[in-house]
């Protein structure tokens, strides 16, 4: 099972390396990773998707919490939350028919065509984990020339869970 883990860390050089090396050093995996500063420039939020059962995720959470630069670790999967991922996909389009099929499919997902070239269409799609995987599944029959994913980001839904970053 994939778990979305939000990790608030001090925005300092080397912190990303610490987190990644801890996770890989203990034999866990990171499927996607997104890092950016929060409203407080001294704090960054890292969002990781880590596959594993409850025991593994508990260990990852505790081991992360132990790191000196880590402020807070939240397993978003355990609580009401919203998650999104942005993907950019460039699909080969041979002719008009093929192109309109791709555009139709994109429209169904509320995705946006952001570039059209002679041989390809580039689509931008934003959605939660389920939507993204459905979308990619439906695009499989087409020839995907390039795919970039931002990695999942997530925020909590509960008022109490939205702890102020201080």
């Amino acid at each position: 099972m994939n778990n979305i883990i939000n990790c608030l860390v001090e925005n300092e050089p080397g912190v990303l390396a610490r987190i990644v090396s801890m996770i890989s050093g203990r034999g866990y995996n990171i499927e996607t990773l997104n890092v950016a500063p929060t409203q407080d420039r001294k704090v960054s939020k890292m969002t990781m998707v880590v596959p594993g059962d409850a025991h593994i995720i508990e260990q990852v959470t505790h081991q992360l919490t132990k790191l000196v630069n880590v402020i807070e670790v939240v397993n978003m999967t355990n609580q009401r939350h919203m998650n999104r991922e942005l993907i950019l996909v460039r699909v080969a389009s041979r002719d008009h028919v093929n192109r309109s099929e791709i555009v139709d499919l994109a429209t169904l997902f509320n995705a946006k065509v952001i570039a059209v070239q002679e041989d390809s269409v580039t689509v931008q799609m934003v959605g939660n984990q389920d939507h993204v995987s459905d979308f990619l599944h439906l695009f499989e029959p087409y020839q995907i020339m390039d795919l970039s994913r931002s990695g999942v980001i997530a925020v909590g839904r509960e008022v109490a869970a939205a702890k102020p970053v201080s």
Partner: protein
């Protein structure tokens, strides 16, 4: 006008070099002895050390310096300090840091680094020390400005000594050591993310008391955390209040006095029969600062399978990591036990204790006695007897380490110092020297083998030149004994790459006569300025030990022991207690 303000400011906060900030920081943190080795990237710090009020001790290899600081810390609970140069100086510390990290030993290791502007240029003696040491330290710092240096030194000591202790590396580029700052040493350390002051939950302690109350066959399983947490007195009270037998891990030896009737000695792979039986049959296992290492548990699914399991630990991640957990109490051991004692009624487990006593009587640690050849176990017993059980024992890793754990009766915390987690050969001698610096009035005995001693023999000079006498007892069986034992038991006697001595070889393989002792440890020790003797007969053991213990000098006693003695009992790796092998006659 501005000049005047600057002057006033300078009076309150004098301008200091980065190097001076390091030395001042060490003084502020109460550093008594700094172990280390100089080099190009730390020349400025060494220049300031010239006037420092604490001792600097020059090791002969950087690994030795870290182990010395480690031994100092284990013997006292204070943070050990060491200082080495960049590149190879720093990389040589890695084994020492990993050793301290695995066993939760507080250390601060300062490393020099090439100037900031040259980092990443493959400069002379450059290594990515923060990158290399990241997985083997609790935390590390690369100092990027001289103004942050005083704060970082204070933080390093704070991190090393609080929570679950561990080693911290501070990597300081050479140019920063030379730059000037007015930044004072902070009075208190405030860190945004690191909050080691964990409050345990009273409800957990209540539940703990209730589970003890409901238990008929409880066992305390005590690890190194009880020693680091200075909780021996509380532990003893708890054991007696509720009449609970106590077994300890290798790291926990001495946390509970082994001459106590409730003591079951060590558990695990080479633990006592009584300790392992008790854990197997108990209905409540209370882990106190132990981490369920695989050498303790063996086959996880069979470990304490009839018991409810309670974990008490400062490290949340240690709770339930490998063994199921019915109750986890996160907190410092001492306050948790104190709170427990405040509510725990007295209770008797007479029958259960009598049962464990029968196991103790029936299956003590034993070995086939001999009046012809020195049995290695016999040497340990004699060390205990001749020193009246008062020696501090420091070991390397292998068979001698297990015998030292089994056959010496430890009665006080910090009297058995050993590399438990990482299992570092070469730890013994330098750690013993560090312990002797920490406790100069104690008798410090390094128990080692012919393999381990050769990994850091050069440090013997340090004990001699500083008049910090350490008695080193080499149990020489001509083999890397523990590996040989595994090859004997699990690889059909195919001894591969384990012969260190000459005497066990085929005759044709031996070198010419007169060189049967290679290296000649007696000559080697004498070359380092220590007294030395080689003994072969059991009756020589006690008198030789007595002479060495009373001499006030550094001694190396080489005991030529039974070459193929094995450590028993033994639970083969990955097996349950039922697979225990105990060939003792």
């Amino acid at each position: 006008m501005k000049k005047e303000i600057d002057k006033k400011c300078e009076k309150e906060h004098p301008l200091r070099s980065g190097a001076q900030c390091v030395v001042d920081g060490l003084i502020k943190e109460g550093c008594e002895v700094l172990f280390g080795y100089p080099g190009g990237a730390v020349l400025d710090i060494f220049n300031c050390l010239y006037d420092a009020p604490f001792h600097f001790v020059l090791s002969r290899h950087e690994q030795g310096a870290v182990h010395m600081a480690d031994g100092f810390a284990r013997a006292t609970g204070k943070t050990g300090c060491c200082l080495v140069t960049s590149g190879p100086g720093a990389t040589n510390t890695v084994t020492g840091l990993a050793t301290a990290y695995m066993d939760g030993v507080p250390l601060v290791c300062i490393t020099g680094q090439v100037p900031l502007s040259m980092i990443g240029n493959d400069a002379f003696q450059e290594a990515d020390v923060v990158g290399i040491t990241r997985p083997v330290t609790k935390h590390n710092f690369l100092v990027r400005s001289v103004d942050e240096l005083p704060g970082i030194i204070a933080q390093a000591f704070y991190i090393a000594s609080t929570g679950k202790p561990g080693p911290v590396v501070v990597d300081i580029p050479k140019d920063i050591q030379r730059q000037m700052t007015q930044e004072p040493i902070p009075e208190t350390v405030q860190m945004r993310a690191y909050k080691p002051h964990i409050e345990f939950k009273q409800a957990d302690v209540q539940a703990l008391a209730e589970m003890i109350g409901a238990s008929e066959r409880p066992v305390l399983y005590v690890g190194g955390g009880a020693i680091a947490g200075e909780a021996s007195a509380e532990l003893s009270q708890l054991a007696h209040r509720a009449e609970i037998p106590v077994c300890t891990t290798l790291m926990g030896m001495g946390a509970f006095p082994e001459d106590d009737p409730l003591a079951l000695s060590m558990l695990g792979m080479h633990g006592s029969v009584a300790a392992n039986y008790a854990v197997d049959k108990c209905d409540l296992l209370i882990s106190v600062g132990a981490r369920f290492d695989d050498r303790v548990t063996g086959k996880i699914s069979e470990f304490a399978k009839h018991a409810k399991v309670i974990h008490i630990d400062i490290d949340q991640s240690a709770i339930g990591k490998s063994v199921r957990c019915d109750l986890g109490v996160v907190g410092y051991i001492k306050p948790v036990l104190t709170a427990l004692l405040a509510i725990l009624p007295a209770k008797s487990h007479k029958e259960w204790v009598a049962r464990t006593q029968r196991w103790k009587d029936r299956f003590p640690f034993s070995y086939p006695a001999s009046d012809k050849v020195i049995m290695p176990q016999f040497v340990i017993e004699q060390i205990c007897e001749v020193s009246n059980g008062k020696a501090t024992i420091v070991t390397d890793v292998g068979q001698h380490q297990m015998w030292a754990a089994q056959h010496f009766s430890y009665t006080r915390p910090r009297s058995f110092l050993s590399s438990g987690g990482l299992g570092t050969m070469g730890f013994g001698l330098p750690a013993a020297i560090g312990a002797k610096f920490a406790c100069p009035d104690d008798l410090v005995v390094c128990v080692t083998g012919d393999g381990g001693i050769q990994m850091n023999f050069q440090e013997l000079v340090v004990a001699v030149e500083h008049k910090k006498p350490v008695v080193t007892v080499i149990l020489n069986n001509g083999y890397l004994g523990m590996v040989r034992q595994w090859q004997e038991m699990f690889y059909g006697n195919r001894y591969s790459g384990v012969m260190t001595g000459q005497s066990n070889r085929e005759r044709l393989e031996r070198i010419e006569l007169g060189k049967e002792f290679l290296p000649n440890f007696v000559m080697l020790a004498e070359a380092h300025g220590a007294c030395a003797v080689r003994i072969f007969k059991p009756e020589d053991v006690a008198p030789t030990l007595k002479t060495a213990f009373e001499s006030g000098k550094s001694w190396v006693i080489e005991c030529i022991v039974e070459p193929e003695a094995c450590v028993f009992p033994m639970i083969p790796p990955g097996h349950a207690v039922t697979a225990m092998i105990n060939r003792t006659v």
